[in-house]
């Protein structure tokens, strides 16, 4: 083969480099990522937390709504490793169950925000005509006071959605939609900036000359190049969305008390800080660990996907 003879003429170091099996961008990134100790620690922690909250309730079968006044507000014990709340309900079971909701809200809300942001950014960056109107809308959304608006929308439409879809699904859909709709703007700006700089590159021109349609150029040629920065933004966004959801629940405007999310557990724990600090400690630590892991993973991904670093 022609390539092998070429390789033989090259200096030893270069040959060794070329004889190695080829690595894709993602394998390369994974190689870099593995060397970022804290990001790896974050990923292990996050996997444990996700497995714990999804599979945990099957292993630890204590029900979340088992009221037992004779065992109310007890500290951690073998029967109740995280203690019990004011109605004698098991905190560990509630923290595990709450994690499902909190993590699901975080991931779904970010998926929505990312899809919206990427779509707006891609259209604005690729089609010059749409750039100005779409960016005006983005600026407008950026000027909205997010937390106060979230609070009023959720408070005002909570009962309607509850009636339409039931207490859990209704509130879940609303919180996810509202967080998604109010947080897509930074992603849109990021994607637009990337599209603006990529759309005049030679590889895009080449694709156009062979007759690729706009839709194909956007999805097959430019978008894959933008994906890595979107991925970093998405990871960091999950942490933000989890904090946002728990803030809403903490203010009493998120999920109702029969759906124990981490924020809601902290809201309920507020009144028993003197008698039962463990009620605040465990859900709070769970939020903190999740968000910290997600942020470290995001940091590791940013380093790993940055072509200047490798």
């Amino acid at each position: 083969m022609a390539t092998t003879t070429d390789v033989r003429k090259m200096p030893v170091a270069a040959t060794a480099d070329m004889m190695r099996p080829p690595r894709s961008l993602w394998k390369d990134a994974w190689y870099q990522f593995r060397r970022h100790t804290l990001a790896m620690a974050g990923m292990v922690t996050l996997i444990i937390l996700i497995l714990g909250t999804t599979l945990g309730p099957f292993v630890y079968t204590t029900p979340i709504n088992d009221i037992d006044f004779s065992r109310a507000i007890e500290g951690p014990s073998p029967a109740h490793p995280f203690g019990t709340d004011d109605l004698g309900r098991d905190t560990l079971a509630r923290v595990l169950w709450g994690g499902r909701v909190s993590i699901a809200v975080g991931i779904t809300a970010v998926l929505l925000a990312i899809s919206l942001g990427t779509a707006v950014g891609a259209f604005a960056g690729y089609f010059g005509r749409l750039d100005n109107p779409l960016m005006r809308v983005t600026d407008l959304f950026l000027s909205l006071p997010i937390l106060p608006l979230l609070l009023i929308i959720i408070f005002l439409f909570r009962d309607t959605l509850r009636k339409l879809f039931g207490p859990e699904i209704g509130i879940f859909l609303m919180i996810v939609t509202v967080i998604g709709i109010l947080t897509w703007m930074p992603v849109a700006r990021l994607v637009r900036a990337n599209f603006l700089s990529l759309k005049n590159k030679e590889f895009v021109e080449a694709a156009r000359t062979v007759g690729a349609t706009d839709a194909r150029i956007i999805t097959k040629h430019i978008l894959p190049n933008v994906l890595s920065s979107v991925l970093v933004a998405a990871t960091l966004g999950v942490g933000g969305a989890i904090i946002l959801e728990s803030t809403l629940s903490f203010l009493g405007l998120g999920f109702p008390s029969d759906v124990p999310t981490w924020g809601r557990l902290l809201f309920d724990a507020q009144n028993y800080l003197d008698l039962a600090p463990h009620l605040a400690l465990f859900p709070g630590l769970a939020i903190f660990l999740t968000v910290l892991s997600v942020n470290y993973i995001g940091d590791g991904l940013r380093d790993a996907l940055d072509p200047r670093k490798s």
Binding site: L144, P148, F250, N295
Partner: protein, 319 residues
């Protein structure tokens, strides 16, 4: 420069108009009814309820109410609270000092801590101090403010009995003793807010300084024989702070939003606490006024950030 500011101001007006429309529209289309508290009260017959509705102007279509509200707003009239029947503006003026005292001190403290931390982290990159500061920053913006608040209450109020965990707004600073009391009750909300601000800003300052440190002008300054301390402070820090100043301005509305949570934890009777209470009371005029106030803050500080950037960086020229 003057023309740039005027143009930016002109863009801000339609933005604020649209935001006011969105906010009012959401409130008006929502199923909540400010008179629902009377609905189950047998002492309030339906006729009386209708009359109250009329006197509050609630029987008009919402777009007419919006125009009336907006016109009154332009004259500085925020309307009356449905609950307390006091002018909304009085409620805001009564509560604003409490919010400003906590938020303002916390933000200044946060900036004052973040600048040296970020600077030392960058200059002594990968030192023990840098690792500690980076870890601290990651913890600072990963731990939600309400959890920090509850932890501080558990530690300092319940276990150590150092600080009260409910803010007493009737406390007047008259002498040294009451000043100490005021300090004691504000210290925990301030720490909670300042921790978050310090974490985000310190990381940003570190990154900015690291961008500047290897540049040619720094080498020139060193080559002239200027002491390293002065090179860092007078040359690198000053240039690195330009984007930081805009970030500080952009962060002001977020700090007020953070106060919503903090005021709720420590029961500080400020704007945020008023917002939460008015939302659950369906007190539309107060909610609309506060949300609009937040929107003004965002638009205003975006403008301040842009103008500051233009003033501080002579390389930027606006037509």
């Amino acid at each position: 420069m003057g023309r740039y500011i005027i143009r930016r101001l002109l863009i801000a007006i339609p933005t604020l108009l649209i935001i006011s429309f969105v906010v009012y529209g959401i409130l008006a289309l929502a199923p909540g009814d400010p008179l629902s508290q009377f609905a189950n009260n047998p002492n309030v017959p339906p006729e009386v309820r209708e009359r109250i509705r009329e006197s509050l102007g609630l029987n008009q279509p919402w777009h007419i109410r919006y125009v009336k509200w907006l016109l009154a707003l332009l004259k500085g009239d925020f309307g009356y609270s449905f609950m307390s029947h006091l002018p909304v503006i009085n409620l805001l003026i009564e509560r604003l000092p409490n919010t400003l005292a906590v938020v303002g001190v916390a933000y200044i403290l946060g900036i004052a801590l973040a600048v040296p931390i970020g600077m030392i982290s960058a200059v002594k990159r990968y030192s023990i101090f840098d690792h500690l500061a980076t870890t601290f920053a990651f913890i600072g913006f990963s731990v939600p403010t309400f959890f920090t608040g509850l932890l501080l209450i558990i530690l300092f109020s319940i276990n150590l009995h150092w600080f009260p965990f409910i803010y007493d707004s009737t406390l007047k600073v008259k002498d040294f003793g009451s000043f100490i009391d005021q300090m004691k009750q504000s210290i925990m909300p301030i720490i909670v807010l300042a921790l978050f601000d310090t974490a985000t800003l310190a990381r940003y300052i570190r990154a900015e300084m690291l961008e500047h440190l290897p540049l040619d002008y720094v080498r020139t300054a060193r080559g002239k024989g200027i002491a390293e301390r002065l090179v860092v402070i007078r040359h690198v820090l000053r240039n690195s702070l330009i984007p930081v100043v805009t970030l500080v301005a952009l962060g002001v509305p977020a700090v007020f939003a953070g106060a919503i949570v903090t005021e709720q934890i420590f029961r500080v009777p400020g704007i945020g606490e008023l917002l939460i209470r008015s939302i659950s009371d369906s007190d539309t005029p107060v909610v609309a006024a506060i949300v609009f106030l937040f929107a003004i803050l965002v638009v205003l500080f975006n403008l301040v950030a842009d103008v500051l950037y233009a003033v501080l960086d002579p390389r930027i020229r606006y037509a």
